[in-house]
Symmetry: C2
Subunit: 207 residues, 2 copies
């Protein structure tokens, strides 16, 4: 197993490795990884050791082997079925994004409360009434929901989903969710990405 800090670096490693693999690169050194990630080379080597990945003398690490190892470690090679709850702008963007299947994330339903949306199609799915959330979770043995509803209904829907057996919630709403032990919430605050750009603009740009 690996440290929490190393675990948090895995998505970034994966992104870099995928990009390099796409342009035909076969090997990468710990030094190069440390420069791209802007972290200490000793940290990179430790992460590789934690992942039980060995480099080749004078060549570095096999990019595809490392990428596959990370995917295996993160469970990205298994299919995780999920429901999108809230078929609005954000929910539709996530339900129609083809990039997620590449990581094992398979959206198997979209639910909404708006009668104008129920019965229409989003991303190949027929939108279903959210009144059926619990029964669908149970029938399809769903362990993950993607929450893209307005904040005022986030708590109640989380409760329904957790009671029906969901173990993980990918929360895009600004509402802080309280869940029992055994259920994991990931709060996705997209604004985090803007903060790095804001700092950059403050220091070099400046309108």
């Amino acid at each position: 197993s690996i440290s929490k800090a190393a675990f948090r670096r895995l998505p970034r490693y994966h992104q870099i490795l995928s990009a390099y693999e796409a342009v035909g690169r076969e090997y990468i050194s710990s030094r190069e990884l440390s420069e791209i990630l802007e972290i200490n080379e000793t940290l990179v080597r430790k992460d590789m050791a934690d992942l039980k990945i060995r480099g080749k003398q004078n060549q570095g690490y096999s990019i595809s082997a490392l990428r596959l190892r990370i995917e295996e470690f993160l469970g990205l090679q298994e299919i995780t079925e999920a429901l999108v709850v809230g078929g609005g702008h954000l929910g539709t963007a996530l339900a129609t994004y083809p990039g997620f299947e590449h990581y094992g994330l398979k959206i198997v339903g979209v639910l909404d409360s708006d009668p104008e949306k129920i019965g229409t199609r989003i991303g190949g799915h027929q939108v279903v009434s959210v009144a059926r959330l619990a029964s669908i979770i149970q029938k399809k043995n769903i362990k993950l929901i993607i929450l893209t509803v307005p904040r005022d209904v986030a708590k109640e829907l989380t409760e329904v989903a957790v009671n029906a057996g969901v173990l993980a919630i990918w929360n895009f709403t600004p509402c802080e969710l309280n869940v029992p032990a055994g259920v994991k919430v990931r709060n996705e605050q997209i604004i985090g990405g803007f903060m790095a750009l804001s700092h950059y603009l403050k220091n070099v740009g400046g309108a």
Copy 2:
């Protein structure tokens, strides 16, 4: 100034501090921060020192002072005006999300190429033809664009924007962008959030 690793922790600190402030908490200890962030307490103390924030004996750090200091450091107290380029599902979700203004991010225009969308309103903005991208950037002195177009047009639009004077690109497309020195790209891969949940489900859940 602070180390790169500390810099990357700032959005997470900010999220925690904002949540605690919202429920009326006034102080937080380095120990508590270290437990929530799951990092070493010495790292937290070092980050605080880098930010030039001092704690009070027996009380810890003032939550609001620390949050404000992080915002000041990241430039979130200044307004950054941005254009959303690509008024589809994701672009609309970002253009209509009220949460961004709280961080100084002000969307001042939405551009698209679809004649069905041009002239309609998204998030209080009248959608403008993307043919006017360069002139709008120059007229409004825009330094940041939010790229939410299909991948096949990402490069060409980036080139137009950079030539017109943009210094930062918040890239939501899967296309890797090449930009000159002096321009910063933030690639936003939302899938990163799913990876933590996938690992969790693999180890405890399992459908």
